[in-house]
Amino acid sequence: MYKKILLAADGSENSYRAAEETLNFIDGNSEVTILNVINTNDSKDDVLHNTPGESINAKRKEKLQSIINFYETNNIPYKVQFEHGTPNETVVKIANSEKHQAVVLGTRGLNGLQEMVLGSVSHKVAKRAEIPVIIVK
């Protein structure tokens, strides 16, 4: 069982499945770090489409709520970490920071063309992370 495990989560359905999968690798003494990367490219969208008066940070936290609830109900200690940057580079950077024993992430299941245009985060992380990578399909 891993003591410290990193979950890269964007709040999507896939990242929720990845959260469920972490239970096979941890026990009640482990700690999960839920990492959410705030893509710098999305800053313009965030500012233009932010509801006035509603904080952008609260909105970000809301996206992860289902995953947070999942760990709450399973009594798993967790912490939430937000980072700014490009998703794949930032996940690799945090995974290689020597604070975690493994990294878990979901995959969008792109085909070859989509992968070429959009870039696959899981593929990049699998290639460049120095700790075990668990990709949940």
Partner: protein
Amino acid sequence: MIEKLKREWLAAPGANIMAGIVVALALIPEAIAFSIIAGVDPMVGLYASFLISVIISIVGGRPAMISGATGAIALLIVPLVSEYGLDYLLAATILMGVIQLILGFLKVGKLMKFIPNSVMIGFVNALGIMIFMSQIEHIFGISIDTYVYVIVTLLIVYIVPRFIKKLPAPLIALVVLTAIYIFLGSEVRTVGNLGNIKRSLPSFFIPNVPFNMETLQIILPYSLSMAVVGLVESLLTAKIVDNATDTYSSKNRESRGQGIANFITGFFGGMGGCAMIGQSVINVKSGATTRLSSLTAGVVLIFLIIVLGNWVVQIPMPILAGIVVMVSIGTFDWGSFRYLAKAPRTDAFVMVVTVAVVLFTHNLAIGVVVGVLFSAIFFATKISKVVVTFESLNVRNVVRFQGQIFFASIDTMIDQIEFKEYDKAIELDFSQAHLWDDSAVDAIDTIVRKFEEKGNTVHVSQLNADSRKIVKELSRLNEQHLT
């Protein structure tokens, strides 16, 4: 103070210098392309990007934000340049700086919150569309080679970033395709066909315009538009960089800084400019956090032009057109379609009106002003609905008011009251209302008087503290009415 200077300049110098170099490389094609849009020599935009970057790095309010010659300003000045020439543009740039400086001292940054999202989305969409349209003449109906260069440029700028992250893709397109052009030659126009490149630093000179009222009349409308558009885009960009870095920045200092930068730039032969959304995002993504990145961007840009100027004139225009098309696609807010479907109807309408006004007038400033006016009117209409309800319980007659009572809402409010009662005791209940101005107080006086004319005794109750205060100051009602 010293601590702040250190943090804003010296933190992580390596990463910031690298980011600045990346931005300089990405700035060059844009500065040249925006000069051509404006109808001036490429040097006018290149000098502007160099000077504004360097000056803003010192006097701006938002560390790590990039400013320079922009499409928004270039599009505004097309008629001025074609009718009156470069010197009038430089004079207009100086005046633009003065206006921005004044607005900065008047703390206009705070006014930004009166520009709703709908107008901002309309602004970036109109800008994206206008930038795109400006390239049509450089793409269509010239030659087959032109289409090929544009298409290959677009393929490079959208696909290469997947594999090469360190270098800006537009630069790769520029270098590779210009090299191919120099070796093979093609039937395309080049930068040299449209202007000259001077391999020297900018120098001080006073624009050659007559100093009289006529000149002022010519440049003032342009300077005003440039100042407004420059501030809107700069403060929007500052908000985006704030958001991307989770830090806060002084919007008033940024407004003053933009003013200083444009004022000085005009005296050194540069066109007006403002902050750039795309370049600032590139800067932050490349690891920039400090003012050193903006300084580096400006210095490296002018260094490259002085060293490589002879090759710059050989750049085929369709490559720049392709890069500018990419900029326009990046500027457009693609979330707008979802927004149009989901946002309140009035917001969606304001967004569309803002875009339409800009496309019709070719002036982003007018679009912003009209958009803000429309949203203010919609807002006033929305909150000017006062609901009046009547309640008759035995001898007690209560007229209940709900809503914001002010000049725009009093007519509909009074229309709802029929004044049919005679010789009764009437209570006007304001527990769910707020009186805002003297028109509201006058309206209450009128209602009381009309009831009294028919022999009723009127009692005004439950005014909140603010409303009570203006009633006391302005109303003819006496203590008996109010107790």
